[in-house]
């Protein structure tokens, strides 16, 4: 208890004398912790709910039977007639858009007769809110009606209501026969009988999954083998929920990268804690000497300063919890939009602040604080009492080993380059991140030499150009080289992250723009209405496609068909294009550099495919390799002819000729149409004709330009969260500058007071502090730009490549960078305003007399 009192008196109470500075340090930790927590919570919510309704409504099953393009319905009979007591549930799974609310919800078709008769329909029919019939009787009666649906409670419908659903390109009316409680209050779906779903989706003779409940013995693996033996070649049996797990695995890299990005603010915060504790150590040198002389051990001193850091860490974590929870609400929307655009249809789940989240916040807050404070605390513990008391309260001139640190920086830089050459570990660019961290540390070590050289070279020039205040400012920063270096390190790290991510995103954007020139050659594009998603492929009616193909003024229509498949334990997209209708294209979108026309001619009506770049990275394949795909009831092999650049989705795609696909998956309905207008025809007239021909179909028609604009809008939305994370890191750094300048003003009050005695006007004192802030900003911008450029190379050529497999062409987004850096610079100078005001208000007589 006594020690706690001492800790309070000697360590915490002095903090209260500088509440603004203490508060800024706590806030830095708060923001760092909050961002990490927000990304963690939002990541779990945004990526955790795909197909959750499908799985929840799947009930308690063990295995699932699936096939690319759907399981032939005959397989249901095959399994049902096996001499085992296996319970089975065939399902159609797709999506529908509720017309009035535009909400996209899972659409599930169940064999309700079988479900009701086996008394396993409790989750749907047993919870029906009809009061007149028992659940089963109720269900049986309505099954005879082809318009019956059962809906989740959160949709807010009641039995008897009519609901209009957009399914593929058709709107149909259904009647709500019952309402079942949502699994967690959010995961609603539309349930209908299997036959009704097949009719609505025009998917006859196939189901999407058959769920199996097997007896306990002889074990799941054996049951899997027994069922597999009875299945046709292209049909697969796997553990239920494998698809969900595959999605989770696919999203792991996305979450991992975002989580690491969220640590930037924390790293910047660590610099600031280091600075705060360093200042404390120097200011309390005399006190440290006295308590050491009075019997305190080195360890006690070390613990005291670590305790101060722990106070900042724990206070920051405590505040970071509610702030992080609030930030998560904003982050989840951005993350869910990205998941929906690039990976899989998903509706964000609830944000849950679990005990684990609370623990995480405190562990990172405490951990970062302790680690950051270790070096200055150790320095304090090593000071001899005599030396500390003799020197008294001195300026912050802790030793800086510039040359040694520069050599260390060089070694770390070389190690960083070496780390970039190493491959990914289980799909994670571990060494890429290690290289980035090594570079950040190398930069921090090189900054004292850089700062010293910069000030030595330019301080006199600054004095001549901006006046004596600038000279004093430069000298002041140089005199506190260690403190200056830490501040420049913190801000430059934030700027470097901002610059590197800015360059990466700018390069990616430019690459995508160039890619779209090649990939979107048609004049018009048509797809079913409703929000698009990489794993949803609603179809356009074949009659409509035929009708459009026959319109005058149309030179050709490409029919693209896509399926969601599972390949090698990961979700992928299987697509086909109508090569007979493809325009001549001499440009290349392929790794080989050959003209597209030449490459695509090799897959025409052949068991050959081209695959997307992300696919090759996910599955470690390349041109010349073979792929075996489970298609319908067959398992054909396809030769990979070439690899194409693809920035449309991160899932990985396989592209084949439409004729080849129809051989295995005979559903001719296209997922979308690429329409070429004849040279002599007016695009506007053709558009009007298509709109007229599409009357009665719910489709969306885009011009080439619309589609590009939409793609870039989605792109920008996808990366909005990275900008938000960088902004927080910069805010933390700027707050650190404000806090540190405040400390600098307080530590230099004698000098400031003296200047007033020597004739300095208040404006000159203010100018000096603002020039100091400006110089810090300038130094940090130089160092940050250099480091940011190096980090952007790692991001583009190592981390992105190993995480997502995209080839990005380097591009300087000059305008964006100039704007961002300009804003940071202005913010840094503004951060000097309050410390400058404090300096101006100092009583010079008091300040000089103190010493």
């Amino acid at each position: 208890m006594g020690r706690l009192f001492l800790f309070y008196r000697l360590m915490l109470r002095p903090l209260l004398q500088e509440p603004v500075r203490a508060m800024l340090t706590v806030l830095a930790v708060t923001l760092g912790v909050a961002v990490v927590l927000a990304i963690d919570l939002a990541g779990a919510a945004a990526t955790g709910s795909f197909h959750a309704s499908m799985e929840t409504l799947g009930g308690d099953n063990d295995l699932e039977v699936v096939a690319s393009g759907g399981v032939p319905e005959t397989v249901v009979g095959t399994i049902a007639t096996l001499p085992y007591s296996i319970r089975l549930s065939a399902r159609i799974e797709d999506a529908a858009v509720i017309r009035d609310t535009k909400q996209t919800v899972p659409l599930i078709g169940l064999d309700l007769v079988a479900e009701a008769s086996s008394d396993r329909s409790g989750v749907i029919l047993g919870s029906s809110s009809s009061e007149t019939l028992s659940p089963s009787q109720d269900a049986m009666q309505h099954l005879q009606n082809a318009d019956s649906v059962w809906v989740g409670a959160s949709l807010g419908r009641k039995p008897g209501d009519t609901v209009s659903l957009l399914i593929n390109d058709q709107v149909r009316e259904f009647t709500v026969r019952g309402v079942y409680p949502d699994s967690n209050g959010r995961e609603c779906a539309i349930v209908m009988d299997l036959a009704t779903a097949q009719r609505a989706l025009n998917r006859f003779g196939r189901v999407d999954r058959i769920l199996l409940k097997t007896p306990e013995v002889p074990g799941l693996e054996q049951w899997q083998q027994r069922v597999r033996a009875a299945l046709p070649a292209g049909v697969e049996v796997r553990l239920q929920g494998t698809g969900t797990n595959e999605n989770r695995r696919m999203l792991a890299a996305f979450r991992w990268n975002l989580r690491l990005l969220s640590y930037i603010a924390l790293i910047v915060g660590a610099f600031l804690i280091y600075n705060t504790i360093s200042v404390s150590v120097v200011r309390r040198r005399p006190e440290t000497g006295i308590v050491r002389a009075l019997g305190a051990s080195r360890r006690a001193v070390l613990v005291a300063f670590l305790g101060e850091a722990a106070f900042f860490g724990l206070a920051g974590a405590a505040l970071g919890l509610p702030v992080g929870r609030a930030m998560a609400s904003g982050a989840v929307k951005l993350m869910a939009a990205t998941v929906e655009s690039l990976y899989v249809s998903s509706r964000p789940g609830a944000i849950e602040l679990s005990a684990w989240s609370v623990l995480l916040a405190f562990v990172i807050g405490f951990g970062v604080a302790i680690v950051s404070a270790l070096s200055p605390a150790r320095e304090a513990s090593l000071v001899s009492p005599v030396e500390a008391m003799a020197r008294g309260r001195r300026e912050y001139t802790a030793r800086v080993h510039k040359s040694r640190d520069l050599w260390l920086a060089l070694i770390l830089g070389i190690l960083a380059v070496a780390a970039t050459r190493l491959p990914a570990v289980e799909g994670k660019p571990v060494f890429g991140y290690l290289a980035a961290v090594l570079l950040v540390v190398a930069s921090a070590l090189a900054i004292p030499a850089f700062t010293d050289a910069f000030i030595s070279l330019f301080s006199r020039w600054l004095g001549r150009t901006l006046g004596v205040e600038a000279l004093l400012a430069a000298q002041s920063l140089s005199a506190s080289l260690r403190r200056t270096s830490v501040l420049v390190g913190a801000l430059s790290t934030a700027i470097a992250m901002m610059t590197s991510v800015g360059i990466m995103v700018g390069s990616f954007r430019e690459t995508v723009l160039l890619w779209m020139n090649d990939r979107l050659p048609a004049d018009l594009y048509l797809r079913p209405a409703g929000e698009p998603a990489p794993d949803r492929h609603p179809t356009v009616s074949l009659e409509l496609a035929d009708r459009i193909s026959e319109l005058p003024g149309i030179a050709g229509v490409d029919r693209l068909r896509a399926y969601e498949i599972s390949y090698d334990g990961m979700p992928a997209t299987l697509a086909s294009v109508d090569l007979s209708a493809l325009r001549s294209d001499h440009q290349s979108n392929f790794f080989s550099g050959r003209p597209s026309e030449q490459v695509l001619s090799q897959i025409r009506n052949a068991d050959a495919v081209v695959v997307s770049e992300p696919f090759t990275y996910k599955h470690h394949v390349r041109a010349g390799d073979s792929l075996t795909l489970a298609l319908g009831a067959a398992r054909p092999s396809f030769r990979i002819v070439d690899v194409y650049y693809d920035y449309g989705s991160e899932r990985g795609s396989i592209l084949m000729d439409r004729q080849t696909m129809l051989r295995y998956l005979p559903d001719p309905a296209p997922s979308n149409l690429a329409i070429y207008v004849a040279p002599h025809a007016s695009a506007e007239t053709v558009r009007e004709e298509i709109t007229e021909a599409s009357a009665g179909y719910r489709v969306l028609l885009f011009s080439n330009r619309d589609l590009r604009t939409e793609a870039i809008r989605i792109f920008d939305r996808t990366f909005a969260i990275t900008y938000a994370l960088e902004a927080v890191a910069v805010i933390v750094a700027v707050m650190g500058i404000a806090g540190a300048l405040l400390a600098l003003v307080i530590d230099r009050r004698r000098e400031i007071g003296l200047l007033r005695f020597l004739g300095a006007a208040t404006g000159q004192v203010r100018k000096q502090i603002l020039v100091e802030a400006g110089l810090l900003g300038l130094l940090a911008n130089f160092a940050g730009l250099a480091l940011g450029f190096a980090l952007s190379l790692i991001l583009i050529y190592v981390i992105n490549k190993q995480s997502f497999g995209w080839t990005i062409r380097f591009h300087w987004p000059v305008a964006v960078l100039l704007f961002a850096i300009g804003m940071v610079y202005v913010a840094t100078v503004l951060a000097g305003l309050y410390p400058a005001q404090v300096a101006v208000r100092l009583d010079p007589i008091e300040a000089v007399r103190e010493e």
């Binding site: 000279l471 002041s476 000098e751 007033r756 300095a760």
Partner: protein, 225 residues
């Protein structure tokens, strides 16, 4: 006309909520060429008187005329200008900026005032205090006496009408202190300026043209020679 005139000056401070009477109805005139010593116990009001005379502070009542200008009538900017042109301060602990060279320390007031030829003026003042050749050194490379000479050169660089010195020999040994006092006395005479020094030193008092003895904020006695 007196360079500095304090007319019925009182100065009260608030310290921890208590009113402290630092000076009470003090009147004093200092003329050109005069070397004045303020003596008295610690806390008797010597430093307060110097701060008022140097326009660093305002009296609670009474008037301070610095070269004929009533300091109470000026705003901060005008007060700064007045101080720049008329007053040179010398401190007990020298108050040199350790990051600046001797030259830079001396020319600092001129640079703050935006005046040209600062280096030449600094060089001249260093010659006056017999520190030729040490202009490029840093303060930590000097002895205590040399540092105080730099302090004096800095105080002189604006050619002030009055030098205000607060215990200028307090951090020096007796021999060095005496040398500094002789230097101050000589410069006062040669430059026809005025010097007011707060001191505990009997040697300083012995050199002074006038000794002002303060006690509890009151002028107890003024002895002129």
């Amino acid at each position: 006309m007196a360079i500095v005139a304090l007319q019925n000056v009182s100065k009260d401070y608030l310290s921890d909520g208590q009113s402290v009477h630092a000076l009470d109805d003090v009147s004093l005139e200092v003329n050109r060429g005069e070397f004045v010593a303020l003596v008295g116990r610690s806390g008797c009001g010597k430093s307060t008187l110097l701060n008022l005379a140097g326009a660093m502070d305002f009296p609670t009542s009474g008037r301070v005329l610095l070269d004929g200008v009533d300091t109470s009538t000026l705003k901060d900017a005008s007060l700064t200008l007045l101080r720049r042109e008329k007053v040179g301060f010398i401190f007990q602990s020298f108050q040199l900026l350790h990051t600046l060279t001797v030259f830079e320390n001396v020319e600092l007031p001129l640079l703050l005032a935006g005046k040209p030829h600062a280096r030449a003026a600094a060089s001249e003042k260093l010659h006056w205090v017999e520190l030729d050749g040490l202009g490029n050194r840093y303060p930590h490379q000097l002895s205590g006496g040399q540092m105080q000479r730099v302090g004096i050169a800095r105080a002189l660089v604006q050619s002030p009408v009055i030098l205000l010195a607060d215990e200028p020999t307090g951090n020096l040994d007796t021999v060095t202190g005496n040398v500094i006092l002789e230097l101050l006395k000589r410069l006062t005479r040669e430059l026809n300026t005025a010097t007011v020094t707060a001191t505990h030193s009997a040697e300083a008092a012995a050199l002074a043209d006038a000794i002002v003895r303060l006690r509890d904020g009151n002028v107890e006695e003024i002895t002129r020679r």
